[in-house]
Symmetry: C2
């Protein structure tokens, strides 16, 4: 096991705080420095033992760091990297936890210039409904996927260092290209979020919204759970992954138009075929998801 | 408390079986007769003590019955009512548990003719992922809504008998017109189901579906949970509530077109406003839902 001497975490909430807690629990790091915009949140992270020190000077924080994790809103990536760059030593590897990669990579290239190769983009697929340092838990990433989208410029050892750190957290490493990543998440994450927001807003804007909400039940609650997410974050993701999301949205609108035609023609057989195909695909997916989770739990034990 | 002498339940699965279990637990019925298409399921309902006897002759089953509940697929309502009609005595009230009401009422009018006034339409808003008699539980309806859509032809005492039975199960009675009911459920239940089926089918039909499903996570799982529902049932509901669903689907497609325009123009402010409105409306709804559930639990105790 590689033990990191020092890591610096920008943003010590759920994602960054859980990374810290997991590495600490694994004994995979000696010193953790936290940096963030909110003093209270950093103080809390320190009280909880997630971080050892609160970084006040960028120079001191980054001195002799092995690894830097950015767990900040995607739209802040560039400004954080600009602030880091002057103090970024050659042996330090920087990674992030952003849920889109194309814009993050572009921001990193602009911000880091000749130090761009030190940036290894990453995306842990894990979350909870809660946020902030109090939500951080050491087992958040156990059995979860972390997608790395290494750049042609990255040294193999830099990618390995990031992969190893996430594996110490219990995560399973996947690799995609930046383009694959953004297309995949536009389909299975970004589009569903936007559809859920759109449905709730559609209902809320009707004159008889109160009556409608009175009869919304558990199916509606689950369907719209992701519409409880942060509006700022989803504005940023929508803008950052706009081309891929537009593609997926257009495909979905075309799918709804096909379904509308079947319904207008009262074509019960074709509708049932579509519902069955969906039900079947979903149940196969759930089965493989459960198998994969069981396997990774076994590996962990 | 009114104690019913005899009730007859068509379909002794989750909905009918839980109705039986709840009335039995409340001591609100002396004899329960079960009728259904599947001998094994009826036998199981009897073993579980949900029903006292399996009805074999329609005449005998309906003789001196106070209440008949149809918990069969909506599309079977008419044929069951046609079979009942010759043996339906004047003092017997018939109700149903169908999730649409317009087509059910039309079917009842065709099937029952001069006995139509004995039919009081109902819709319990409760469910579980499981089905069949083994899924039936006595507390399924505690604190849940049952929507009655009484007809102008119904005698007040008939409506009261149905309402009282559901109240004995712990349910809260709501009243809507048939048209209100079908419009409301098209918006908050039928449309979300169709959107979830459409999304899963859209993804499953892509050439790289396997890659996509690999990265679908808990948000996707909750969003598509309702796409695990019975395809036959949703074909029937789609056909039975077609006009109201087309209305809601058109409104939603228009909403997506508006959102698409904002995204294409990269109008982050307007997107964030929409997301915030939705997030806010959902969190208010959840709060009122929790309050209502807490209140009805209090009333029950």
């Amino acid at each position: 096991m590689i033990v990191l001497n020092k890591i610096v975490i920008f943003g010590t909430g759920l994602i960054g705080g859980s990374f810290a807690a997991a590495l600490r629990k694994a004994g995979a790091v000696r010193q953790i420095v936290g940096i963030g915009r909110t003093a209270a949140s950093l103080q809390r992270a320190k009280e909880l033992g997630l971080i050892d020190t609160i970084g006040t000077s960028m120079e001191e924080a980054l001195h002799d760091a092995d690894l830097v994790l950015l767990s900040v809103p995607v739209a802040q990536t560039e400004s954080v990297l600009v602030a880091i760059k002057p103090w970024l030593q050659p042996q330090t590897v920087v990674t992030d936890a952003g849920s889109i990669k194309g814009e993050v990579v572009a921001a990193a290239e602009r911000a880091l210039g000749e130090k761009f190769a030190q940036f290894v983009p990453g995306h842990p697929i894990a979350g909870r409904e809660l946020t902030g340092p109090d939500a951080a838990v050491a087992d958040l990433y156990v059995g979860k996927k972390v997608v790395l989208t290494p750049l042609p410029q990255n040294a193999a050892a830099s990618v390995a260092r990031v992969a190893d750190a996430w594996q110490q957290c219990g995560a399973v490493i996947h690799r995609l290209t930046v383009e694959q990543h953004d297309a995949v998440f536009a389909a299975v994450s970004h589009l569903p979020h936007l559809l859920a927001y759109a449905l709730v807003d559609d209902i809320a804007s009707k004159p008889h919204a109160d009556l409608l909400f009175q009869y919304a039940a558990s199916g509606f609650r689950d369907f719209t759970r992701i519409a409880g997410s942060s509006p700022e974050m989803w504005r940023d993701i929508s803008l950052a992954n706009q081309p891929a999301i537009l593609n997926e949205l257009d495909a979905y609108i075309a799918q709804l138009a096909r379904f509308r035609a079947l319904l207008a023609q009262r074509d019960g057989d074709a509708m049932q075929t579509m519902f069955s195909r969906a039900q079947q695909a979903r149940s196969e997916w759930l089965r493989s998801l459960e198998e994969a989770e069981a396997q990774s739990q076994d590996r962990k034990q």
